[in-house]
């Protein structure tokens, strides 16, 4: 049954775990550890985290490019984690991706036209004229001239290549597009153009986005809800403006504090000296943020916190919440005990 009829989420990830094998004699690493999230039709879910958080692994797992160790990924009513090759190919029509690096996303030896017609060739058997019309219409929607099809990727700038990549993703009218750091490699002014483009396309085509990024501000601008990931686990999730303005989890707060603001008046850096970061060894099975957390206590080292509702409309995985003021001094004395 189609989720639009039932009103359920378009993408529903539950307890997803992905293990990556290390080098020859090393134990496997959990790139994702029981991650759950969902995307409703027509909405944008932002996925935030730093390097090593597992955001790209999550995108690749949903796309079927990385094997899943356990958990479920339901998309449009189908279970992706255990799907067969043929069914996945049919579903890939509705699930597309835009990657980060515009220079690696297009085969330099093929023309733009060939790159754009690739998804069409797989999913539809359109006559050549209809194909050309569809390509032209999408190029227009992303703001590129029609003669782009004859040229090679080397002739285009990063921003233009990203538009081509977006056009390619939308060629077969998908329901969900995963944007994996799609604007991170672009200049600020081009980034703004692409963000506007993505917003416009969402409005015109009713497509959902899973928007992965390390930049809180960018994610906040485009998303209705945000999920914060750290070392493969969800730290906090909730509405975009709450997460990005008044977060509850200490990691999200640290992210927010570290994100430099362009307003010199608000800059906190000038006040700080050359301080060292507290480094503690974390224990297995404990909270992944233990080693860097300013308010961690003994319990945090051994017991993994579950996602619980916090004071401000979000869900956070932290033992110290709900705590009216998580930055109190008692944290330090607790830890020394």
């Amino acid at each position: 049954m189609s989720p639009e009829l039932t009103g359920g989420p378009l993408l529903d990830v539950r307890d997803l775990t992905v293990e990556i094998r290390g080098r020859r004699f090393d134990p496997p690493v959990k790139a994702l550890d029981r991650v759950s999230l969902s995307v409703a039709p027509g909405e944008t879910l932002g996925l935030v985290g730093e390097s090593g958080a597992g955001k790209t692994t999550l995108a690749l797992a949903i796309l079927g490019l990385v094997p899943v160790t356990s958990g479920s990924i339901r998309f449009a009513g189908h279970e992706l984690a255990s799907i067969g090759r043929r069914s996945r190919r049919r579903l890939s029509r509705d699930l597309q991706v835009v990657f980060q690096d515009p220079y690696s996303a297009l085969n330099p030896a093929r023309t733009v036209g060939q790159a754009l017609s690739e998804p069409l060739d797989v999913h539809e058997t359109l006559p050549r004229a209809a194909k050309r019309r569809r390509i032209a219409s999408l190029l227009e929607q992303v703001g590129l001239p029609a003669d782009t099809t004859e040229r090679y990727p080397a002739e285009f700038s990063g921003g233009q290549r990203q538009r081509i990549a977006i056009a390619r993703a939308l060629m077969v009218s998908p329901k969900l597009v995963i944007c994996d750091e799609a604007v991170s490699a672009l200049d600020l002014s081009i980034q703004a153009q692409i963000l506007n483009l993505l917003a416009d396309l969402q409005r015109d085509l009713s497509v959902s986005y899973l928007f992965v990024s390390h930049d809180l501000a960018v994610v906040r601008h485009l998303s209705s809800r945000v999920v914060v990931l750290y070392r493969g686990q969800v730290m906090e999730s909730g509405p975009a403006e709450v997460i990005c303005d008044r977060p509850s989890h200490p990691y999200t707060r640290a992210l927010l504090a570290a994100a430099p603001s362009p307003d010199p008046g608000q800059s906190r850096l000038a006040a700080r000296g050359t301080e060292r970061r507290p480094e503690r060894a974390g224990g297995p099975g404990g909270c992944p943020y233990y080693s860097r957390c300013a308010i961690a206590v003994a319990r945090c080292r051994v017991e993994r916190p579950e996602l619980r509702p916090s004071a401000a409309a979000t869900e956070a995985a932290c033992h110290r919440l709900p705590d009216p003021d998580p930055t109190t001094q008692e944290a330090r004395s607790d830890e020394n005990a």
Binding site: E50, S51, L63, G64, R89, R90, S92, V97, F99, D101, S104, A105, N107, P108, A109, R110, E118, V122, H123, D147, E150, R151, Y152, R168, D187, L188, S189, I190, Q191, A192, Q193, L195, N196, H214, D215, A217, R220, H221, E241, L255, A257, A258, A259, P260, S261, P262, D263, P264, Q266, S267, L269, A270, R272, G273, T274, E275, R276, R277, E279, R292
Partner: protein, 636 residues
């Protein structure tokens, strides 16, 4: 089939004379081999003992062999078995090499490991030895041993194809094709094979040469041919036996081998160049020595004499830098002037292509090949760096100016420990013994807040994280206690929480040592956090300079205003970002008037007429915009 007006492949090939020559020669040899009986002036066994071992004569243009047989005819008749052998080897080599290489590289895992073991084995087999063993059993066989040569030698091709396939497999367009639903065989056919084609072609040409030489060597030893049938190697054998009598025979026998191998190589290179030319980016040509061009824009000096006091450390005056390209010289920085005072942090802010990195490199005197300073001066505490000899400016580096680059993971030599590299820098600048230098290196690591510096000093770069490495590079840059530190996007490649620490570190070090900092960045947040003054660049020019507060609260140039408006941190939630339309013009395509005019929301006709001079919007606040009322005309 033409593509949008581009030249068809054969025509592109025809433009390469060497490739055409190679193809022509090979065609000649092929025709000679096929039609030998028709073309050759004599039969292969026709002897004329009276003119044995003669040099070139009218009736025997290439001379005769010891039995009086015509050399030219021998070569023609000998061509066929030779080429058959080469073809057998080449086909076996191609099939085995490409198949195993692509399968191993693409499939990965156990398959790849197994194929790697097999190639290791093959690479360890001394080929000629194996062939000799085979020939001891089958002395007359040709095709089978040559095919086996191809299979054994394919190990080299497997290695190369495998590594190219591995890197292609990681490219994002392969992932995109998988997501689009393309099956693996189709992906290999459509995306992988074309990318390995040029490598394979070049290797194939080389191997054809090797196979030819090997086949001749075997014939020289008497294997692979049924005597007395002629062969190229056999001719060399005859030459060796009669060396004392006449050396002439060496020339045609070796010559034909050499020419054919060279033809293979030339043809292979030409095909490779032809096929990649269509889509490759143009290479840059090294700049030719030429006199610096005269500056065409009016001279701009620092407006306020109070600022031109003795505490200016770095003064850049009318700097112009250009790149030499196939289409001629292209300016990338034009008429850039700014100062940095002692203890001050200047942020140079701009997007890609604005020339900020080139500016930093120009200060160091380390412009990349192809770039040249065409005008302007760089003065360090009064000393004109641009007038120094290479040795003198090398002495400045590290001792008076330090440098930190963008990606810490590749900023240090991976084959030396971090500590040894810092110690080397210490010894360069401060002299002293090795033990002292090592100790000072550890002290430097401590001063950049690295925990357990003695342990860190013994680590190799690949064992450290990005944040730690950037601190290590900073320690290296501080080894000579420089007065100015140039940091080119030092935090761009780092996580945001680490960014803040590294910036805090730089700020702290600067205050401790009274060092100046030239910080190149594209990030407004960095400017706001650490800069005392900021300079905005666009299309090679300074467009605005002020303190971060003035820049943020009262930008005086439409580009700056546009940039600030595009920042998602300052946008209203859910609203549209005010993006600047269009994109940065490439160097060489800059308009004659204001370079921002094509994208400017406030553009007027007068903006396009001619170059725009820098104006003073307020004390210490300059802007290159005609809409700024010039409170004071540019001085002097």
């Amino acid at each position: 089939m033409t593509r949008g007006g581009r030249m068809p492949a054969w025509r592109r090939f025809a433009r390469r004379p060497l490739g055409v020559a190679g193809a022509a020669w090979l065609l000649l040899v092929l025709l000679g081999a096929v039609f030998a009986s028709a073309i050759a002036p004599y039969g292969p066994q026709v002897q004329d003992l009276s003119s044995a071992l003669s040099g070139p004569t009218m009736s025997h243009p290439l001379g005769t062999d010891p039995l009086g047989r015509d050399v030219l005819s021998q070569l023609l008749f000998g061509a066929r078995p030779t080429l058959v052998g080469v073809a057998a080897a080449l086909i076996a080599w191609l099939v085995a090499g490409v198949a195993l290489g692509v399968i191993g590289g693409y499939a990965g895992g156990v398959t790849d490991a197994a194929i790697s073991r097999v190639t290791d084995l093959l690479l360890s087999l001394p080929v000629l030895v194996v062939l000799l063993v085979i020939f001891s059993v089958f002395p007359d066989a040709l095709v089978m041993p040559m095919a086996i040569l191809g299979v054994i030698a394919s190990a080299g091709l497997v290695r190369v194809v495998r590594s190219v396939t591995l890197s292609v497999r990681e490219e994002l367009y392969i992932r995109a094709a998988r997501v689009a639903g393309l099956s693996h065989p189709k992906i290999v056919l459509r995306h992988v094979l074309p990318r390995i084609a040029s490598t394979v072609i070049v290797q194939a040409a080389l191997f054809a040469g090797v196979a030819l030489i090997t086949e001749s060597g075997l014939a020289f030893l008497g294997f692979g041919i049924v005597l007395p049938a002629p062969s190229w190697g056999g001719l060399i054998a005859e030459a060796s036996q009669t060396l004392s009598r006449s050396a002439w025979l060496l020339l045609p026998s070796g010559g034909i081998l050499g020419l054919t191998v060279v033809a293979f190589v030339l043809l292979g290179n030409a095909i490779r160049d032809t096929s990649t030319q269509a889509w490759a980016a143009p290479r840059q040509v090294a700049a030719r020595r030429s006199a610096p061009a005269a500056s065409s824009t009016p001279a701009i000096k620092e407006p306020s004499p109070a600022e031109r006091s003795g505490d200016v450390l770095l003064s850049v005056e009318h700097l112009c830098v250009g790149f030499a390209d196939r289409q001629g010289a292209k300016p990338v920085v034009s008429d850039l002037s700014f100062v940095i005072r002692r203890g001050e942090t200047l942020a140079v802010l701009g997007e890609s292509g604005c020339g900020k990195t080139i500016t930093a490199l120009a200060v160091l005197g380390m412009l990349p090949p192809g770039a040249r300073r065409t005008d302007g001066h760089v003065l360090l505490d009064g000393l004109d760096l641009t007038a120094l000899a290479p040795r003198e400016i090398a002495a400045i580096r590290g001792r008076r100016i330090g440098y930190i680059a963008q990606d810490p993971m590749v900023s240090l030599d991976p084959t030396f420990t971090v500590g040894s590299q810092i110690a080397e820098a210490v010894r360069c600048h401060r002299g002293g013994r090795r033990a002292d230098a090592r100790r000072q290196a550890v002290e430097l690591l401590d001063s950049v807040n690295i925990p357990e510096p003695e342990v860190a000093a013994r680590r190799y770069p690949h064992q450290l994280s990005g944040g730690m490495l950037q601190r290590c590079v900073t320690a290296l840059a501080l080894a000579g206690s420089p007065e100015l530190l140039i940091a080119d996007e030092p935090t761009t490649a780092l996580d945001v929480t680490i960014q803040a620490e590294v910036l805090a570190l730089l700020r702290g070090l600067q205050q401790e040592r009274g060092m100046s900092l030239l910080l190149v960045t594209h990030d407004w947040g960095v400017v706001a956090a650490v800069a005392d003054r900021a300079l905005v660049m666009y299309a090679g020019q300074l467009v605005e300079t002020a303190t971060p507060a003035c820049l943020f609260n009262g930008p005086a140039h439409p580009y700056t205003r546009g940039l600030l408006a595009s920042s998602p941190q300052l946008a209203t939630l859910g609203g549209r970002l005010q993006a600047i339309p269009g994109s940065v013009p490439a160097p060489g395509t800059w308009p004659a008037g204001c370079r921002f005019a094509p994208r400017c929301p406030e553009v007027e006709d007068q903006c396009r007429e001619g170059p725009v001079a820098v104006r003073v919007a307020a004390p210490g606040h300059l802007s290159r915009c005609l809409h700024v009322p010039s409170a004071e005309a540019a001085r002097q």
